[in-house]
Each structure stands twice: as C-alpha cells, then as structure tokens.
C-alpha cells in the first residue's frame, strides 16, 4: 500500500508544478512581455509555434473525437466481414477502407491488432494500419486548408499514401512474414461506451497534442533560427530535401490531422519533399514504432518499419515528381 501512496504523491507533483508555473507567469507578465518584445527572433518563434498549434487544434479535436467514437461504438468485426477472403484482394480493399476511419495513428495500431486477433490476414490488417491515418477525410480537409488553391497536393497525398499502404501490404504477403506478427495481448477496456469514448478521446488528444506541440516547436525553430542561406542550400537539392524531411517526419511524430500545417510552414522546401514528409509521417514515426513494438513485437517492427519507410519515400517521391 505504501508503494501506491508514494506513486500518488509523485503523480500530484505534475499538477503542483503546473499551477506554480502559471502563478509565476501571471505575476511576472509585464516583465516577460517586455523581455520578449525586445527580442524579435524569440517573439517570431513564439508566434509561429503558437499559430501552428492553434491552426491544428480544431482538426486534432475532430480526429480524436471520431476515432474515440469508433473505438467505443464500432466493432472491428464489421470491417472483418467486409473484407474478401482472397488474401491478395483483401489488401487493396483494406487500403481503400482506410478512407472511412478518420483518426490519428494512435487508433490505427490497436484497431489493426484487434483485426489480427479476429483472424484477419495480417497483410490486410497492416495495409489498413498504414492507410487509415493517411487518407481519411479529416486529413484530406486539413491538407486542403493548409495548401489553399493547390488541390494537386491533396490528390498527390491521397494517391501516394494509398499506393504506399497497398504496396507494403502486398510485399508483406509476398515475403510471407505473417509468422512475425505476435498476437496482441491488450486486455479489454472496462466501462460502458460513453466512458470508453471520453477516456480514449482525452488520452488521444493529450498524446497527439503533445507530439504536435513538439513538432510545432521544431518547425518554428527551422523558420526562425536556421539562416535563410542554409535553408536554401538544404532545400535547393531535391534529394537532400527529400531525405531531410523524411527523417524529420519520423522524428517529430505529428498526428496526420495536423502535419499538413507543419509542412505548409516550411515553404523554403520543394513541394515534393513536403509531400514525402506528409506521406512518411502517418505511416512511420517514433511514436508508431514504439506502439508497434508494444502490439506486434520487436521482430515484427525490425522488418516492418524500414520496409514502410523505404516504400513511403520512394512512392511519395515518384508521385510528387509526376503530379507536383
């Protein structure tokens, strides 16, 4: 009992720190405001950082609400009944069905795990895992908002993401790696649907929101700190630009509903490189890697992650060069 009491005390610490910081901020407001006003670089960084978070907020909330509703009220068996028994055909059907499941990557890994548990062939479940976060309506709308007057960007993102998901699914089937998929052991969730909905929504918002804030901070730093000459050199070479943004997409782990806004902010980079950023992000990042290890195991992830990365970069680069 003493262990859990100690745990409760440390978990209270976070709230005390938050309240303490708030009080200090409010008390020293004029000094902080003056401090920032005298440093235009810092002020610009803050404005860019906040604007990405504010712009993305409605899309994040929508995505989280819908995916929590699906987790609470929709049974994965509905999807499993819709898939054809032929494993080869199940892959593209699973890919396209990703369109109707809006939500963050946070939801797609557990859903894919539930599908595998119900006996869906792993390659179809994995195709779904890759497609759903990338081609659902909320992501398409947010991309259209982020790149106004450029509908080809939305189309390119859709096409590249769908082709990536289906290609990886077929490759997984061909390589016969199904044995690597370790069945998930996630226990059932307690409580009625409403409780599940609220709990999932709250958890996913904080999870995705936290990573969004980190990604926005990185984008703001690129915008303000990196000198325009360095940016031009980095962005000037297409191959370098693609690789830089592909790695950045894996590192920053931004939710697919919001990554279009971060991509739009990096206007120095060519459009194709930014498309790669938006296609790689939803299918592979540090957050997804850790969730995949937790759901499907290390051996699985060691093959799946690099395969996904290479496919996503290649497909997105080709689609970008053709369409954009």
């Amino acid at each position: 009992m003493s262990a859990s009491t100690a745990e409760r005390k440390t978990s209270h610490l976070g709230s005390y720190v938050l309240v303490g910081i708030l009080v200090v901020l409010i008390a020293t407001r004029p000094w902080i405001a003056a401090f920032v006003a005298e440093r235009p670089a810092l002020a610009t960084w803050l404005t860019v950082f906040i604007s990405i978070c504010v712009q993305a907020l409605p899309f994040l909330v929508m995505g989280v609400v819908v995916s929590a509703a699906i987790a609470a009220w929709l049974s994965p068996s509905l999807l499993s009944r819709a898939l054809p028994t032929n494993r080869f055909l199940a892959v593209p059907v699973a890919g396209v069905s990703g369109m109707v499941v809006p939500g963050c990557e946070c939801a797609s890994v557990p859903i894919a795990g539930a599908l595998v548990k119900r006996g869906i062939t792993p390659s179809a479940a994995l195709t779904f895992l890759l497609a759903a976060p990338a081609i659902n309506p909320i992501v398409m709308v947010s991309t259209a908002v982020a790149f106004p007057g450029q509908p080809l960007v939305v189309l390119a993102r859709f096409v590249a993401a769908l082709i990536t998901a289906i290609t990886v699914g077929w490759m997984w089937l061909a390589l016969r790696k199904d044995s690597l998929v370790r069945l998930p052991t996630r226990p059932g969730v307690d409580g009625g649907p409403l409780e599940t909905f609220v709990g999932e929504a709250r958890h996913d918002f904080l999870h995705a929101g936290g990573f969004l804030a980190i990604g926005a901070a990185v984008a703001a730093t690129v915008n303000v700190v990196v000198p325009p000459s360095v940016l031009d050199t980095l962005a000037g070479n297409l191959i370098v630009a693609i690789l830089v943004l592909a790695v950045l997409a894996v590192v920053v782990a931004i939710c697919s509903e919001a990554d279009a806004f971060v991509a739009a902010s990096m206007s120095a980079f060519p459009l194709t490189a930014r498309l790669v950023f938006m296609v790689v992000g939803p299918v592979l990042d540090v957050k997804l890697i850790s969730m995949q290890i937790g759901t499907f195991g290390r051996a699985f992830t060691a093959v799946f992650a690099p395969l996904t990365f290479v496919t996503a970069v290649t497909v997105a680069s080709i689609v970008g060069l053709v369409l954009l």
Binding site: E7, V54, L60, F205, G210
Partner: protein
C-alpha cells in the same frame, strides 16, 4: 498523469481557445475563417473535461492499476494513466494567454525579398483587373497594389491616389529609420507560412521599425527590386501613424 489533471488540461486549452476568438487574439495567428472551428473545438474540449470529471473519481484508478499497466505497455508509455507528453500541448496556449505575442513583423519581413511574385495568387488576380471604385484616395491591400503596379496591362493605377496600411520594415540595419519598406505579411494558411509583401517608397519621412502607418500616395511605374523579385513603388504624399489593425495579416 492523473485523470483529473488530464481533464483540467483539456478544460484550460478549451477555455483559452474560446477566449482567443472572443477577444480577437486568434487573428494574430490564424485567418478569421477559423473562428467558429476554434470555438467548436474549445466547447468539445471543455465538454470532455466536464464529463470526464463527472464520470469517476481518481480513487478508481488505484484499483484498476494492473489493467492500466498492461494497456500502457501497449501504448508504449510509462507508468501512469495518461501520456506525459500531453503536458507539451498546454504550453502554447498558456503562452498565448499569458504573454500575447505580437503578430509577425519586421523581423520576418527582413528575411525575405517581399516580392509579390512569390505569391502567385496575387499575380494571377491582377490579370483580371476589376475596376477600381470611384473617388480618391482608394484603399487597397498591399498585395492588390503590388499586383496592379507590376502586372496590370490596363494600368488601372494611373492617375489615382491610393491609401495603404502596413508596418515599417527598415531597409538596412545601420540606419533603421531613414529608409523603409511599407510591409504587410500575407498568409497562405496560418502565421507559420506568413510571407512579407513589400512596397518601396519615394519621399517617405523616417519612421521607427514595426510602426503601423497609413500611407497615401500615387503609383510610380517601375521595379524597385530584382528582376525575378519585383517590388512596386509608391510616391508618398502623407504618412500617418495608426494602430495595429485587428486583422494584421493579408
């Protein structure tokens, strides 16, 4: 992160988002079209916080610890019933309400050429020249002025007096007040992609950097910038200090 703290964070962000639309602060960061979406998002967050708080007390969490551990392991984060990374999302909103950062200004403007040629939409719309309203001075955005000045075949600006509102961007750092561009930041999506639109001035009195001004003058044909980054020219007749508009961006 305890459940009550999670709900508190959602409530704080929701309230700040709604407040920012009410007091107009959101316009420093995003376009006016986002207003009701922000309100909706704020309302949903507050509702989730309230319902979550009503649903269960934190004592329930101690009993379900083992299940939470297993679920957390799947999600790949450590002990606790909420993701620690969630703290990060409260930071921008607290800064927003505590410090009220200014909209993008001369710092951003000085890092780019400010040529309207980098904003194809403006150039394209100058081609289908709508007639200017009758009566001088005619007010317009810097984007419209630059588009008409540089790309309009019908020379719709000839003989007209125009009125432009913008802020001051110094031409060079050594003598920041003597020579300056009239500037406005144009948004594609939000402030993160803001791009400056600069108008070069003739006969303009010295002004402090980042001051907001209303300038009245007449178009001078020509290009004050590079060939691939042209800048329009305005001959200044009067300059008045003004306050930052509620909507600082174009």
């Amino acid at each position: 992160m305890k459940r009550s703290v999670q709900s508190a964070i959602l409530a704080v962000i929701g309230v700040i988002a709604i407040t920012a639309t009410v007091n107009g602060l959101y316009l420093n960061f995003v376009k006016p079209s986002l207003r009701w979406w922000l309100v909706l998002a704020g309302v949903i967050l507050v509702a989730l916080a309230v319902v979550g708080a009503l649903q269960g007390s934190d004592d329930d969490e101690v009993e379900s610890h083992d299940l939470e551990h297993a679920a957390d392991a799947v999600r790949g984060h450590e002990h606790g019933s909420g993701p620690r990374v969630g703290w990060a999302i409260v930071v921008p909103f607290i800064i927003l309400s505590a410090i009220v950062p200014a909209p993008l200004g001369s710092y951003t403007a000085s890092r780019a050429s400010g040529s309207v040629a980098s904003r194809p939409a403006v150039v394209a719309s100058a081609g289908d020249s709508l007639d200017l309203p009758v009566g001088d001075p005619v007010a317009m955005t810097l984007g419209e002025f630059s588009g008409r000045a540089l790309f309009d075949e019908t020379k719709s600006l000839q003989g007209r007096q125009v009125q432009l509102v913008g802020f001051v961007t110094p031409k060079n750092a050594d003598q920041p007040e003597s020579a300056w561009f009239l500037t406005r930041i144009a948004l594609s999506c939000c402030a993160a992609d803001g791009y400056p639109i600069k108008v070069a001035l003739q006969n303009a009195p010295p002004q402090r950097a980042d001051a907001w001004v209303t300038v009245t003058g007449r178009w001078v044909p020509g290009n004050a910038g590079a060939d691939d980054a042209p800048l329009a020219i305005l001959d200044v007749e009067s300059v008045d200090l003004t306050s930052q508009p509620a909507q600082p961006y174009e």
